[in-house]
């Protein structure tokens, strides 16, 4: 029986190890999206003793973990109950999202028409469970991510490459877009003062 060719699967046992592996992968000039996808993460929460300490109710907090020598941003997002993001794009970057705790609903949208003035078109939606991973980039579409639970907060790990700090948010009713600057609630464990 033929065995399929196996390429290396990275298994990070901790957040620190994950960061080390990512640095290694991104040290090359060419990075395979598939390779990054296959980085699995075990017990990341151990390294972040209390991710919920950074949860502000119905405001998600973005907590920067590592800036990958400029090649990527790795951050942890804490979502209060009922909180969701606006519909947004990803400024030509690759985005990986892994659920560390709780569940997040992802709704995909088509890009609005140039002169869009109608309700945006939903492509699909799914609920991502703990440990599930999602990937998106601008050619796939736009999305909204929300914690639809009224009882449990959620925590997700995000990897963006190349890093970006502005994106566009979209009004679902009209397709109008609006550029926003994203900020961090904390960086490398320290609270960011705005």
């Amino acid at each position: 029986m033929e065995q399929p060719v196996q390429t290396e699967t990275w298994k990070a046992q901790s957040l620190e190890e994950l960061v080390r592996i990512l640095h290694q992968i991104f040290a090359e000039d060419k990075v395979s999206v598939e390779e990054v996808r296959r980085v699995t993460l075990w017990e990341a929460i151990e390294q972040n003793p209390n991710p919920l300490a950074n949860t502000l109710y119905f405001r998600y907090t973005r907590n920067l973990v590592d800036n990958g020598n400029g090649k990527f941003n790795l951050m942890i997002l804490c979502w209060g109950e009922g909180h969701g993001s606006s519909i947004h794009d990803h400024t030509d970057s690759h985005c990986f999202m892994k659920i560390l705790q709780g569940n997040l609903k992802e709704t995909l949208f088509e890009w609005p028409e140039k002169k869009g003035n109608g309700e945006m078109t939903k492509k699909s939606e799914r609920v991502l469970r703990e440990n599930q991973c999602a990937y998106i980039n601008d050619s796939i579409g736009l999305h909204r991510v929300e914690n639809i639970s009224h009882t449990e907060p959620a925590v997700s790990l995000h990897l963006y490459s190349p890093p970006f700090d502005t994106c566009n948010t979209f009004d679902q009713r009209t397709g109008h877009k609006h550029k926003v600057t994203m900020t961090f609630y904390s960086q490398f464990g320290e609270r960011t003062v705005c």
Partner: protein, 313 residues
């Protein structure tokens, strides 16, 4: 709750009995002297006896700061809960509430109130009497309108209203000077300019009342029946600064768009004394009778830096 809880753990300050299938919390709670946090999410609470009787006299009534009853089966806010006068944070998310009792104002230390994911249809104006309320979550309900009194919540920093049945907001919402976050998506908010809604012509009583007020006709309580004296005291001022008129019951409801911090257009309800009166938000150069279909003319002076997150779509 296990019997003897307070004997074995008299110093317990935080108790988490979430996800245990509890259908009622009995008198064991009453003898806990220092409890400040009680988490009882995802249980089967909601029937009578969910909270023990005699809560008012228990130390809990003063000591409890945080109560989380989300994911249970409450169809109404249990009256006993309103005895917990020291409560700072209350969550009843994901229950079966159809309304909010006006007596919620008894929880005068409340800072955080989570009521998302219920079947609430209306908000009592008494909710606005909570002086320390900073976070109010009302998302995923069936709310059709917001009482203008909510603008009295001077401490409010975050208001979550997404996924309700709102078509407009009261213009008083602009008075919430400390509001940093507002979520409104998933509401059937009016997107296009809406012409005047129904206008019932004023009654003779109203016309007389208006004349008394605007002409400053003097009157003393001995001159009029008590009911009319009371009626005259209820005059509302027309918000048009150039008008100076008053109205009682007969007013024009008009939806106009206000540019919120220069970014988002919110449909706000204005009450004017007559269809000829122009909105206070119209710029001076506009003719008062022009009712243009364009919604980009109105601007409110809401400082952009205050509103950090307005989620409309």
């Amino acid at each position: 709750l296990p019997a003897g809880l307070s004997q074995w753990f008299p110093a317990v300050e935080a108790l988490d009995v979430s996800g245990t299938g509890l259908a009622e919390m009995g008198t064991e709670l009453l003898s806990l002297p220092c409890l400040h946090t009680l988490l009882a999410k995802n249980n089967r609470l909601g029937g009578p006896g969910s909270l023990p009787k005699g809560l008012e006299q228990a130390p809990l009534a003063r000591s409890l700061r945080v109560l989380n009853l989300s994911g249970n089966r409450f169809a109404e806010v249990p009256p006993a809960l309103l005895q917990l006068r020291g409560l700072r944070s209350l969550s009843l998310g994901g229950n079966r509430l159809h309304g909010i009792p006006p007596d919620i104002q008894e929880l005068h230390s409340l800072e955080f109130l989570y009521l998302g994911g219920n079947f609430i249809t209306a908000i009592p104006p008494e909710l606005a009497k909570l002086p320390s309320l900073r976070y109010l979550v009302l998302c995923d309900n069936k709310i059709q309108s917001i009482p203008p009194q909510l603008a009295q919540l001077h401490s409010l920093r975050s208001l979550s209203l997404h996924n309700n049945l709102l078509t407009y907001l009261p213009r008083e919402i602009l008075n919430l000077v400390h509001l940093e976050e507002l979520s409104l998506r998933g509401n059937p908010l009016v997107v296009r300019f809406v012409r005047d809604l129904t206008y019932n012509p004023p009654s003779l009583q109203e016309l007389a009342g208006r004349t008394v007020k605007t002409r400053n006709v003097p009157y003393a309580p001995s001159d009029l029946p008590e009911s009319l004296v009371r009626y005259l005291s209820l005059a509302s001022n027309c918000p048009n600064p150039k008008c100076g008129g008053v109205y009682f019951d007969s007013c024009v409801r008009q939806i106009k768009f206000v540019d919120f911090c220069g970014k988002y257009r919110l449909p706000l309800m204005h009450y004017l004394c007559s269809p000829e009166c122009s909105s206070p938000f119209s710029s001076a150069s506009q003719s008062s009778t022009s009712q243009s279909e364009s919604d980009s003319e109105d601007e409110a002076s809401v400082a952009a830096h205050r509103m950090q997150k307005v989620l409309l779509g």
